[in-house]
């Protein structure tokens, strides 16, 4: 397989590739390489938070307001830590494709549990475990996940007083897309999800007396449907396979849909909703390696941060600065903007994030200063603003493993580094500028490559 194509594959299923790995793989053919990608991600390593503080909690404790608030406060701190561990995982993944896929699902089945670390952890691992599983089972599990039951108010969905929030988003954002169902479909399916709830440990419970046992009519079928039945009926619509295929295409192939390619994906996916089969089909396709798909996608903040780490490993000395980076680049893990998730592609880039991205390599790798004002979030809403500093100038302190870089790029000269670091075409003027600078030290040249607009593409 051509080096350029291996690089492209690894940019999309992971966060880049080291020169040694690239060399090792270049003797293999496409099928072997893709098989290896899947084999490497066949295991699931759950991400664990320290939840020992919940060990002795009894259901009654949560009814006491003070106790509940105290637990929520601890949970919020733990969730921040969990967000940092997730980022560390993304930077040092044991199963790289699975982690990439987890990021995809986190922006598809979008949920959030701000006050409960247990639910947050379980939800996050649910995404990871089902990343290559069966979409049908996955969707059903999501509908019963404690975090989701809270996030889209399905806990409050009762026979006497139905709440349509989950039913609506299930169809609009998770399975069919806008315009592919009626308001009646929403009302009827909401009734099927009534009574869904969970216990204080997050285990799913069906509250029978709140569940509507009467007949519902959904997509022209009538019966005493429950939530699982509704999901089965939704998946009978080919539109569901198309909707997911389009989303996969946008994330892994190209933001601009090619209808033919998506139609082929839909046909594969509709058969049994097997996510791994769909992904194998995509990566095996010749069109995946078309020039128009290489180096044309704008990296998400996580792809950007992990991409730099792949070349020059770094570590934040103060873990909280990892959160600061996430926030300043516009993707705070576990904090999606709303149920529609992060807007991707060009939406990642505005003047502010662009400036930060251009400067980030030098900030991360040279411990340079970054100025920002701490306007705080909800955590600080109740604290006294007057005691807070208005503006902070802080050094981002990282431990940078230049040795790893020296070792990995030992055989590569500055010129050779260009095609290893940049997958996009390079604007003429910038290319000229780079070629004028070929004699500067390798480290500096590398930081330079990571500071040009072309580096924002993968």
């Amino acid at each position: 397989m051509k080096a350029k194509h291996i690089q492209h594959l690894y940019n999309r299923v992971g966060f880049g590739i080291t020169p040694n790995e690239l060399e090792r793989l270049s003797n293999k053919n496409k099928r072997e390489i893709i098989d290896e990608v899947f084999t490497n991600s066949s295991k699931t390593s759950p991400l664990k938070a320290d939840i020992s503080f919940l060990k002795d909690i009894k259901p009654g404790d949560l009814k006491i307001k003070e106790k509940r608030q105290e637990l929520q406060k601890i949970s919020r701190k733990k969730i921040q830590k969990f967000s940092i561990s997730w980022m560390e995982r993304i930077l040092n993944p044991s199963e790289v494709f699975r982690e990439k896929m987890t990021l995809f699902w986190a922006n598809h089945f979008v949920s959030e549990s701000r006050n409960n670390i247990l639910f947050t952890q379980n939800y996050n691992n649910l995404l990871r475990e089902n990343a290559f599983g069966n979409f049908r089972d996955f969707t059903k599990k999501i509908s019963k996940d404690a975090s989701m039951l809270g996030y889209l108010n399905n806990k409050q969905n009762r026979k006497k007083n139905p709440n349509e929030n989950f039913a609506r988003e299930l169809m609009e954002l998770f399975t069919l897309g806008q315009g592919n169902y009626t308001e009646t479909d929403i009302k009827e399916s909401a009734r099927a999800f009534t009574g869904y709830s969970h216990n204080f440990r997050g285990k799913f419970l069906m509250r029978k007396r709140h569940h509507d046992e009467n007949e519902k009519t959904f997509f022209k079928k009538t019966g005493n449907f429950n939530g699982d039945n509704i999901i089965d009926i939704i998946l009978e619509q080919q539109q569901c396979a198309r909707f997911i295929s389009e989303k996969i295409y946008r994330f892994f192939v190209n933001e601009n849909i090619n209808k033919e390619h998506v139609a082929a994906m839909t046909a594969v996916f509709y058969k049994d909703y097997d996510i791994e089969k769909l992904m194998r089909f995509v990566l095996q396709s010749n069109w995946f390696y078309d020039d128009e798909n290489i180096g044309t996608k704008i990296k998400s903040p996580m792809e950007f941060l992990a991409g730099i780490h792949q070349v020059i490993p770094y570590q934040f000395e103060r873990p909280k600065q990892a959160l600061l980076m996430q926030r300043l680049l516009g993707q705070t893990l576990l904090r999606p903007p709303n149920v529609a998730g992060w807007k991707t592609g060009r939406n990642w880039i505005d003047s502010n994030t662009m400036v930060r991205r251009l400067r980030l390599a030098s900030i991360l790798l040279n411990n340079a200063a970054i100025t920002y004002s701490d306007t705080g979030d909800e955590e600080t809403m109740l604290t006294n603003l007057t005691t807070k500093k208005l503006k902070r100038k802080t050094f981002i302190k990282t431990k940078t493993d230049w040795n790893a870089f020296e070792k990995n790029y030992k055989k590569i000269d500055n010129k050779g580094m260009i095609s290893l670091i940049i997958s996009s075409q390079i604007n003429k003027g910038t290319a000229q500028m780079l070629s004028d600078n070929l004699d500067i030290p390798k480290k500096d040249f590398c930081v330079q490559l990571m500071s040009i607009p072309e580096y924002q593409l993968c």
Partner: protein, 396 residues
Amino acid sequence: MKRRDFLKQTTFASGMFFVPQFLKAFEQIPTKTFGNKKVVIIQLKGGNDGLNTVVPFRNDIYYQQRANIALQQTDLLKISDEIGLHKSLVDLQKLYDNGFLSIINNVGYPNPNLSHFRSTDIWQTASNSNEYLQNGWVGRYLDYTKANPTKAIEVDESLSLLLKGKTQNGLAVTDAKTLYNSLKEPFYKSVINANTDAHLNEHNLGYLYNTMIDAKSSAKYIFEKTKVKNASNNYPKNLFGKQLKTISQFINSGLDTQVFYAGLTGFDTHANQQNTQARLLKIYAESINTFVEDLQKNNNFDDVLILTFSEFGRRVKQNESKGTDHGTANNVFVIGKNLKKQGLYNNLPNLNDLDANGNLKHEIDFREIYATILDKWLQVDDAAILNKSFSKLKFV
């Protein structure tokens, strides 16, 4: 290697000998304007308790429902025989007395959402409560006017949905100098100047180059235009005072920005509401009053309209912790010089007529306020920007 030595040798300090031709075309800001009116939007974040802000002190239900936290007549700044402002709002009362304030009551939307984040999204995108829009109404104003990023500025580190459009985005600036300095390094100058054909490229790479060029020219424009003008020094020394000071400096130095956005956080008063709210309202009123005085001194107040909202109000009945829980409809303040309707725009909420959760029912859709501002103040097609036509109010 010592860090200092290392820094010296890094990219930006080390030689970048490429001397490009200076391309002025990229750095110019077109001056297409749709008028010179400006709007300053302020969000009281967390959900301000409107009922304890503009208080119906003759209403028995109010005192029944809020045994511990109701404000007594003696503690209020009376603006009528029945209504008083929270005692922290001395400075706002001055504006009221001058006819610069219009209080619009019972503003909300159908099927209210009680989540801070979701309700903020709804206010920022001007969507229905069951509709998820990916752009804000100010962003769509930028789309409509094909404006530069400098046309809408958020005084914050990152850009809210409010200022993101389909094709254009506003700019988040806390400090023009920082933004300016961050792209001043010779390296970026070289990258920008070395790419003459970048603006012709419709692909993502072209978009990236254009955004970089935009960022640099915006930062340069703001920095150079504002560096001489200082704002009054009377602003309260807190984050919100600082934000308004920045906005006043921007307006008074003649920046072409038409919409500004700032926020004051901390209004989520579930417990021991009284002290917190008193402190925050004081910050709000003092800052706003200083801001208005500053604008007046520079003869700019005629062209500025200040809109203050909160993502929701709070429950009529207080909770057990001397606080209030998330509610629905709330009051909105409009501040300006030549208001068509000064003082109370409409009646205070009817506390006898609450929804199933014990919350106020809305009377005015918040988008009617936006529509009014867009149509009558900024003079653009409000229906095109709000995706729907709303009836107009009569405050401007």
